[in-house]
Symmetry: C2
Subunit: 257 residues, 2 copies
């Protein structure tokens, strides 16, 4: 009747188990197409994909060769899918400590011809400068960044089209309804830098208008004015802001926070 006793009699072979357990990571970054100095940035939200090589690491023909895919790999002993995603991101791009979120499981039988392979999908927010984009690792032929407006026109491997569609929906929502935008910004930022991040996923006029947004940012409870000013976005020194650590829930049924 003890737990140990129960454990001994438990037959673990009763049910089918997956043939593979993997983590995939949709790596998002924002590329600032700086128009020169003293300018607010022009930003574009991009997704990092790899092109699958013709041959795998052992020299055998690779499955879904030459198609574009979300990077990922097998979860290893003694780690969770989330830990695996962080490890793989670091192996792939040498960055760690970035924002990472699990957003879905893709486990339909038949999604991968090699067997019942389960994919845990995550998205990561990586600062542009830390993406060195080293190519040709393992079974990746190429690594590249694609604008979220173009990425769905590619020839995508497995069910990665569905994964990418969900990832874009998820990060769009999170950028607008949570404070994750802070992960695309330095600790202290100007109103126009935050505005540029948000404009990558919305064309809401209240966000797109400079006057409205520079007024509004002062009243948001989860953002406060910081000490200094900067001149990196304009000749006139510009007020810096920073995010306040807090949970934000804005009900759709009310006006207030």
């Amino acid at each position: 009747m003890s737990n140990d006793e129960a454990l001994k009699k438990y037959d673990i072979k009763k049910y089918r188990t997956p043939d593979g357990y993997t983590s995939d990571i949709c790596v998002f970054t924002i590329v600032s197409e700086s128009d020169g100095e003293y300018k607010p940035p022009l930003m574009d939200l991009k997704l990092m994909l790899i092109q699958r090589a013709a041959l795998d690491a052992e020299g055998n023909p690779n499955i879904e060769a030459s198609k574009w895919a979300v990077p990922g790999g097998f979860v290893q002993d003694d780690e969770s899918a989330f830990e695996a995603a962080k490890r793989e991101l670091e192996e792939e791009t040498s960055v760690s400590g970035v924002h990472m979120k699990h957003f879905g499981v893709y486990d339909k039988p038949g999604r991968d011809p090699r067997g019942w392979i389960i994919s845990n999908a995550h998205y990561a927010i990586v600062p542009e400068h830390s993406l060195s984009l080293r190519k040709a690792q393992d079974d990746a032929a190429e690594v590249d960044l694609f604008s979220i407006n173009d990425v769905l026109n590619l020839d995508l491997a497995f069910d990665h089209r569905e994964i990418i569609e969900d990832a874009i929906k998820m990060i769009t929502n999170d950028l607008l309804q949570t404070t994750v935008a802070k992960n695309f910004l330095p600790e202290y930022f100007t109103y126009s830098e935050l505005q540029a991040v948000l404009k990558t996923v919305t064309d809401d006029p209240a966000i797109a208008s400079d006057q409205s947004f520079s007024r509004k940012i002062k009243t948001l409870p989860f953002i406060r004015e910081a000490e200094g000013k900067t001149s990196r976005t304009s000749k006139k020194p510009t007020q810096l802001y920073t995010f306040v650590e807090m949970d934000v829930v804005k009900p759709i049924y009310t006006a207030r926070y």
Copy 2:
């Protein structure tokens, strides 16, 4: 170089695979403590849990016996975790066609002493009247509903405390930031019925005040006035409303929808 060729050479045994792949379902229901006729309902959000039996289906001592747990079971051949959750909910409660959402994966090695067992956590929204609460199925000794305010005081099996905490957070957010509340309501409902659902997860005064909420509901783009009236919540016939099918995203940076 073809996919078939690649498939033949693929060695599926290279990585460790999970010992079990399961779906668990946090079944939420709202219990209306009707105060009599011509009254708006008093609602309480509840979670259905099972108490693990002393012996399992085969008569062996059960693991984590007598603790309370989220119902669930193993994903079977040719189904996804999501499909398994729907099947298990129907087996457990005989209801189908209800709202179900995957919200997390619990796969930390060691979370289950029987091996590397992966749990896909879902929440389901079930109308009160369809819960017959049949007891003592398989390895469940008892089935019961617990208010979300009390449930975390129970002795919970495995890592189900964490799962339940996450489920409560998730459904609270979804109720306020999406239109899932419709799944707790009949197709046509009064302002006070919707209000009662929302009051199970928030005490926002703009929602709690009758006058404010009855005015506000008329202006919400995702709700429209229906034809008829009802007297089930008051002696005065009351306007019925219904949800409009639409995506709702309310940015935290703006006032409008």
